[in-house]
Every structure is written in structure tokens, then in C-alpha cells.
Amino acid sequence: MEKLSKPPVNKVTTLKEAVSRFVHDGSYVSFGGIGDRTPTAAIHEVARQQKKNLRLVSDTSVTYVHDSILIGLGLVDTYEIAYNWGGIWGPDAVYRRALEKSIPKPIKIEEYSNFSIGMRFLAGSLGVPFMPVKSLLGTDIPVHNPHVKIMNDPYGGEPVALVPASHPDIAFIHVQRCDAIGNTQILGHLGNDDSLARAAQHVVITTEEIVPTDEIRRNPNLTFIPYYCVDAVVKVPFGSHGRGCPYYYSMDVPYGLQLAETWATEAGFNRWAEEWIFAVDDWEGYCRKIGWERLSRLAEAERRYQQYGEMR
């Protein structure tokens, strides 16, 4: 049994360093969050460093801020996915082009549902090889995905589907707060991040704030990811911009609506990537380009309506 626990040492680094250290050509990568708390800054950095032949796994990927950026740049070979779409922002032209026309290149799809991807991460987090689910039965998902196995439950005899544990080489998770050694607190909906952090071999936390460990200890019930899962901590304010971060800033709805137009053509997507990813040095450059006033208005909007621990 390989040593998996990461030491309780200062892990603060830069996104550039974390991506270059943990993502390699061919890596199996997962970006956490669920709509909100999408680790968009990390995705931009992976794109900027042009990591290739990636295998990605996600429950739900929200277009314009998530996996489609890497798909559009031709960096993805295999995609294990339940849902890739824009929600209120509308359809995902990049994903459609990739799957309908192999633009910019063909990708291999392994289809699941949100719950069964969640169960793959749960199995991974528990160190068991699979989880049984009652989803997927009777559908075409197992027909096209040989990793889903149907068996008869040895207790009651009824059919049950098995899905295999997922162990990404590296997971990026964006959160509201953690300490320098990686004890991570998440506020609001968690998605599958509690499981993903444990299932992955390595974890990079990007965080709105780094707080003292004593601040973590005040609310031990909010620590959903213990430091021993975490390899690196990177302070990235507004690291989910586009999407929101509960209690910190609201979703930027107009941002995605504009991108929906830009990404509608291949040339538009490439132009966008050139301008917003490759022509900026890092996420701070991106934030400057978006404009700090806009970002601070998104933060203000969220704070007006809710703060954690308060009722309005």
C-alpha cells in the first residue's frame, strides 16, 4: 500500500507551479465544484500550459468555464462524463463540434449519470473497487459503456448496476477557505467534492481565502476535506469567475451569454482562447482584463443577499 497521506506542512504555491507539477500529458484529471465553485482559474492554467492527451472525469461540466475549454483546444482524448452543457447560458457549441464533427479532434466518450459519477468518486474515496447503483439499468448507457456491469444482487436477486471506482491522478477543487496545510472548508452545496478529494491521487485546492488553522478549528464540522488529501494550496480570489462561489460572489450571467455567441464558431472559440487564456499571464491577468470593478460588484451582489451564518 503506497503512502497516500500528504504531510501537514505549508503547501501554499502558485497555480503555475501546481499545474506544472501535477498535470502531465496523458494525466487523468478532474475539476470539482458543481456549477458554483468550478475551478475555472485552474482550467485556464492547464490550457495555458497546453497539457495534452488528457483523460477527464466530471459529473456535470458547465460550459464556458469548465471542461469544454480543454476540449475546444484539442487537449482531451477521453472524457468520462454525465452532463456537459451551459444551463441558462445555453448549448455548448464546442462540445457539439467535438462529438458531431470531431473538431478539433475526435474524443472518446464514456457516459454515466450524475449520481453514478458520484458513486464512482465515493467508491474511489472509500478504497473499494466499485459501487452498486440502481440508476443506469434498462438504458443504453451500459450498452455503450462496458465499464458499467449489471449483476444480480446476491442478497435479493434483483438486477443492480456496478460502476468502477474513479481515481483521478489529480483533482482541482475551488473552495471558499482553507488553511496553509490544506484543511478545507466548503460553504453551501458541496457537489461531490468530499469524495473526489479522497478518490484522487493528488489534490490542488484553489481558494478564495487562506485562513489560520485556528479559524478552521472554530468550525470543525465545516472541514469537508482534511489536509492529508491535499498536495497544494493556491490563493485564487474569484477563481470561479463566470460561475459563482456561495457567500462570496454571484454567477456572472452576462459573461456566459456573451461567450455563447463567441464560441458558436470554431474561429470564435479560438479567438477567445487566444485573447483570454494565451494572451494573459495568469488568473490575475484575466481578472484585470475582466475588470476588478465588475468582480467586486459580483461580490457585493452576493453579500447583499446572503452571508454564511446570517439570516436576512
Partner: protein, 295 residues
């Protein structure tokens, strides 16, 4: 509550659909609801006939009572005043265990046993149109005690057999669902741009129950790809009440979900200011609405 409902005179087709979906929820039920119009419909239900409806969503939140424009099932808004914020997998697990009475989903194609395609039109490996994939739809279809479906009525969407079966309806009909080991009760209704459909108790085949005002059964049949059965006395869909429409216009004041509001908000110069303004107005109006309803 015994009172004759006051129906709206002026409403859009999307508002009619949302109002009809809203009637699929009952008071004191737990509902597992997806993004978009279904979420608006669930909120309409909660603010009218089903004040004790509990809305759970995929992000991990239970008991939504947000007083802002809802932009997603996992946006910052949905956490506001929730009973619980937890994990995605727990909410789906609660559904698989049987805690969710009703779900609402959409899809790209549906067939006569209510199976849904939310993945790909044409050949799966080389689709003519690729869509989002299951997301939580397969899970709702597998495990919600019952669920309803929202669809556009088009012949290429209502087919004998879906190109790719993403969400289990009644599979091949009869007791096929039970034999497959699916715990949930299956589809309860399909609400389209033309009418309301239910399923035969025994064969599980879909039939037309009601037509929307101004639509005939013949018109519906023209937009269905199999020989559709019609209820012996096909009814007319109940129009939205004045209150339902009023509430929808507070929940979605610029038609982001139920109209064409995304165009204004996506404007490169004015979109952001407009969005900020919508958030504020929406908060004030919804706070007032919730207060009025005692919620």
C-alpha cells in the same frame, strides 16, 4: 381551497406549460427538480397550492426558498435560506432510497413508453445532434417515486423508439421497468407545447389526456411519430391562473427561462448593468412575495 380559480387572460405558451408542470406537484411533497422551467414551475407550485413543497436539487441543497432570480440548480442563490446544504451524492442517494416523491425532467426525444433520449440524435458514435447527456435525468427517471417530463411537441422528438435510451420510462412497457430492477415508479405525465400525456395503467403506453387551448387531437397526432392513443374524452388543459402568471413574472421577470430575456442580458455593453439591476429588483419583489405568502 374551494374558491373558483381566476384564470389569466394573457399568457404565453411557456407560461401555460410551466403552470401545468406546477400542478404536477402536491403540497407536503418532496421534489427533485432540474434546472430551467421545471425549477420555475416548482417555485410557482410552492408559492400557490403547495406551500410546503420541498425542493431538492442536484448541487446538494434541500429546501430551497431563495428570494432571487434562480440561475441554476447549483448557484449561490439556491443556498439562500435552505434547510440543508450537503453533497450531490447524498441527494441522489436520498432519491434512490425513496425520499423524493416527484421529479421533473426534460429531454430531446421521447418514445411511446416514455423513455427519454437526452444524449444524441442519430448514431450515438457519430451523432447528427449531440446534447448534454444524462446529468441527473437518468437518476430521477430511475428512482423518483414518479416524474413528469417537459418536451417540445415535434414529430422528430416523439418517436416510436428513442435513438438512445438515456432515461428509463417504462422501457418496453408492461412490467419491464420492475424486471429491470428500477426502484422508481416511472413517468407520470408528459407536458408538451401541445398537450398533456399520461400512461396506460397496464400497457404503460403513452396516450393524450388533454390538449392545450386551441389545439386539436389531430394536430397532436400529426406531431407524434407513432399511432398515438387518445383518451376517450380528451380534455382541455387548465389555463394558468392569474396568480400563477403573476408569480412567474416575478420569478423570471425578463423571461430568461420562459421568454427571450437572455438576449438583453447577453448584451456586451449593457448586459452586466442590466443583470445587476435584475438581481436587485428580483430580490425586492421576491422578498415581498415570500412575505405575503408567509414563507
Amino acid at each position: 381551497m374551494g374558491m373558483t380559480p381566476v384564470y389569466a387572460e394573457d399568457y404565453t405558451l411557456m407560461e401555460l406549460m410551466a403552470a401545468t408542470i406546477a400542478r404536477e406537484f402536491r403540497d407536503q411533497e418532496t421534489a427533485f427538480v432540474g434546472v430551467g422551467p421545471p425549477l420555475i414551475a416548482a417555485m410557482v407550485a410552492k408559492l400557490t397550492d403547495a406551500p410546503n413543497l420541498t425542493i431538492a436539487v442536484e448541487g446538494g441543497t434541500i429546501g430551497c426558498a431563495a428570494r432571487r432570480l434562480l440561475t441554476c440548480i447549483a448557484d449561490t442563490t439556491i443556498c439562500e435560506r435552505a434547510y440543508s446544504c450537503g453533497t450531490m451524492w447524498r441527494n441522489f442517494g436520498d432519491q434512490q432510497r425513496g425520499f423524493y416523491d416527484v421529479g421533473v425532467i426534460g429531454g430531446a426525444q421521447i418514445d411511446k413508453y416514455g423513455n427519454i433520449n437526452a444524449t444524441a440524435l442519430g448514431d450515438y458514435r457519430r451523432p447528427s445532434v449531440r446534447v448534454a447527456g444524462s446529468g441527473g435525468a437518468n437518476d430521477i427517471g430511475s428512482s423518483a417515486r414518479r416524474y413528469s417530463v417537459m418536451m417540445r411537441q415535434e414529430k422528430r422528438r416523439f418517436v416510436e423508439r428513442v435513438d438512445y435510451l438515456t432515461v428509463p420510462g417504462y422501457l418496453d412497457g408492461g412490467d419491464a421497468r420492475i424486471k429491470a430492477g428500477l426502484p422508481g415508479g416511472g413517468p407520470h405525465g408528459v407536458i408538451t407545447t401541445m398537450g398533456v400525456f399520461r400512461f396506460d395503467k397496464d400497457t404503460k403506453e403513452m396516450y393524450l389526456e388533454k390538449c392545450h387551448p386551441g389545439i386539436t387531437p389531430e394536430k397532436v397526432k400529426e406531431n407524434v411519430g407513432w399511432d398515438l392513443k387518445i383518451a376517450p374524452s380528451v380534455g382541455t388543459t387548465e389555463p394558468p391562473t392569474q396568480e400563477q402568471v403573476e408569480i412567474m413574472r416575478i420569478l423570471d421577470p425578463y423571461g430568461l427561462y420562459l421568454g427571450t430575456g437572455r438576449q438583453g442580458m447577453g448584451h456586451p455593453e449593457k448586459g452586466f448593468d442590466f443583470y445587476m439591476e435584475v438581481l436587485d429588483k428580483s430580490y425586492d419583489a421576491m422578498t415581498e412575495l415570500f412575505r405575503r405568502k408567509g414563507l
